[in-house]
């Protein structure tokens, strides 16, 4: 049975959410991703709605951490490999 879950995001989160949704499709190939203007819908044969919620939280947190840490990580790479 296919499971699906819809997750709304607000304008403040939009850039992060859109990017998270795009990467999610690559990192979790068993999950289908539909992206709307203010929500994302995840579908899966294998993952139930609880798990889809956990996947979305992890993907969104991952993208947030990436966006917020990008400058620090770039500086670290330059410090190490210059």
């Amino acid at each position: 049975m296919a499971h699906s879950a819809r997750f709304a995001f607000d304008l403040m989160q939009r850039d992060t959410a859109v990017s998270a949704a795009r990467w999610l499709a690559a990192f979790y190939p068993e999950v289908g991703v539909g992206l709307g203007t203010d929500a994302v819908e995840l579908q899966s044969e294998r993952r139930d709605t609880d798990e889809l919620g956990a996947i979305w939280a992890a993907a969104l947190a991952n993208e947030l951490l990436h966006a917020r840490g990008e400058a620090a990580r770039r500086a670290a790479r330059e410090a190490l490999f210059r």
């Binding site: 939280a57 993907a59 990436h66």
Partner: protein
């Protein structure tokens, strides 16, 4: 500003895996991600993250230094050249359907090192500045030219630490070859695809050649002990062998390590085994069942430890940064510095797969030759893409600290090095493998913990291998 050098991945029901940039990791419930997104981390969360080096507050110089140290510990610094793969001849006395290097017939002239090439190889050895050397003789079948092997080994005696590996099909071992094998610094590597019928179908072709191979394999194991001999199976993923039969084929010979390899999409395999370009879920499922079968055997019979070699390598990459020099899984993966391949004609390649690609006429990845050197623009160009730190997919990947970079594999499969990383076979394979390993790490099973601890070369078996944050 507070910096969290951390990545998140949903692992299983109720479990989010968090991995720091330096490779430290823990598991939590999905609520931690939700608190992070809601900017509602508790004092307890913050204290836990700070203590593990997963949160660095502005002005925390010690925390920042620890973070940089963690990154540096994971990054490969190529040393001086000390590992050479030498191909003294491309001739071979077998004709395997998935031969990766498109070998030539046993009697075909012009595919052995010339005197000038041998001399240039010896001169190269003389110039190496280090105290240790590892040489792997590949082919073709290198034992067709024992004289060349002897010349190289003799020239290496000045190195304090020496290791030689002869990759042989073991079809012929006469007195001259045995005298070579008797060297305690020399190890043997061969292919063993499973039971006699499977091996014959894939490689030896006739019952006579098959019998000869097994006879010779048993003979060298008896003569030298199994620790001198390693064997690898190549698996046709469309018709993989029965798992227990394959393990038995190794275990009965006293061989504990099995490096499970699907057919490499190289050489003759590109035409004859087209499906080997991409592995699907059935291969990954086969690999998991294989590893679990080994875990069950190790638990049942604790007098010996079997392992799937690549799984062990990846496991050690998680827990023991810097402990393994496996060149297919390191980052950055600088090419043409600390190891090179010298082909039968003296041409130098960055990897054996690069040699195969060139032999197949796909792309010429030669860096130069043994006569005039290989440091130059071509090597520099390749090395601009030798890291996983700059790729947007890898930057978001939880397993980036443990993973590597194999641009030659990307070239082999897709003809380019900028194929979206997450769509590459290399990435899919390792994403799945690391998912599998982390599930094992967190599995509540004494049998699993026992095998993982042995593969990590631990003395005992800890109660748990992975930290958990409730």
């Amino acid at each position: 500003m507070t910096f969290l050098p951390l990545r998140a991945r949903h692992l299983d029901h109720g479990a989010t895996l968090w991995v720091g940039d330096g490779g430290g990791f823990f598991r939590s419930s999905p609520d931690l991600a939700r608190r992070m997104l809601g900017q509602a981390l508790t004092q307890q969360d913050r204290a836990f993250l700070r203590a593990g080096g997963f949160m660095i507050e502005a002005g925390d110089r010690l925390g920042n230094a620890a973070f940089l140290y963690g990154l540096a510990e994971r990054a490969v610094q190529a040393g001086t050249l000390d590992y050479l793969i030498l191909v003294p001849t491309l001739r071979c006395n077998l004709s395997c359907s998935y031969c990766q290097v498109s070998r030539v017939g046993e009697r075909q002239p012009g595919f052995d090192w010339s005197d000038a090439t041998l001399q240039a190889v010896l001169d190269t050895l003389d110039r190496l500045p280090g105290e240790r050397i590892k040489i792997e003789f590949q082919g073709g079948e290198p034992t067709l030219r024992p004289d060349l092997l002897r010349a190289v080994i003799a020239r290496c005696q000045r190195f304090a630490e020496r290791q030689f590996v002869v990759c042989s099909n073991l079809q012929v071992i006469d007195d001259e070859i045995l005298a070579l094998f008797d060297n305690p610094e020399l190890y043997l590597s061969t292919s063993l695809d499973g039971d006699a019928l499977t091996h014959q179908r894939h490689r030896t072709g006739t019952p006579m050649q098959t019998d000869r191979f097994f006879e010779n394999l048993r003979y060298v194991i008896e003569r030298y002990g199994p620790e001198k001999v390693s064997a690898l199976p190549t698996i046709d993923t469309l018709a993989p062998p029965d798992i227990d039969t394959l393990i038995d084929s190794y275990a009965t010979l006293g061989l504990d390590s099995i490096f499970l390899r699907p057919i490499n999409y190289q050489g003759f395999a590109r035409k004859r085994h087209r499906a080997s370009r991409e592995q699907d879920g059935s291969w990954r499922s086969y690999h998991e069942r294989f590893v679990r079968a080994i875990i069950a055997r190790n638990w049942e019979d604790r007098s010996r430890v079997l392992e799937e070699s690549y799984t062990s390598i990846c496991l050690r990459r998680i827990f023991q940064p810097g402990a393994d020099r496996h060149v297919d899984l390191r980052n950055p993966n600088p090419l043409g510095y600390d190891y090179v391949v010298i082909d039968h004609d003296g041409v130098v390649y960055p990897t054996d797969e690069a040699r195969m690609l060139s032999r197949s006429g796909i792309v010429d990845l030669a860096l130069g030759d043994v006569f005039s050197g290989w440091a130059g623009e071509r090597r520099d160009l390749l090395n601009r893409h030798a890291s996983n730190l700059d790729d947007p997919g890898c930057q978001r990947c939880t397993y980036q600290p443990f993973c590597g970079r194999d641009l030659v594999d990307d070239l082999a499969r897709y003809g380019r090095i900028d194929h979206p990383r997450l769509q590459t076979e290399f990435c899919r394979r390792h994403l799945h493998l690391f998912d599998f390993l982390f599930r094992l790490i967190y599995e509540e099973s004494p049998a699993v913990r026992y095998s993982l601890s042995r593969w990590l070369r631990l003395d005992g078996t800890p109660d748990g291998l992975g930290p958990v944050y409730a």
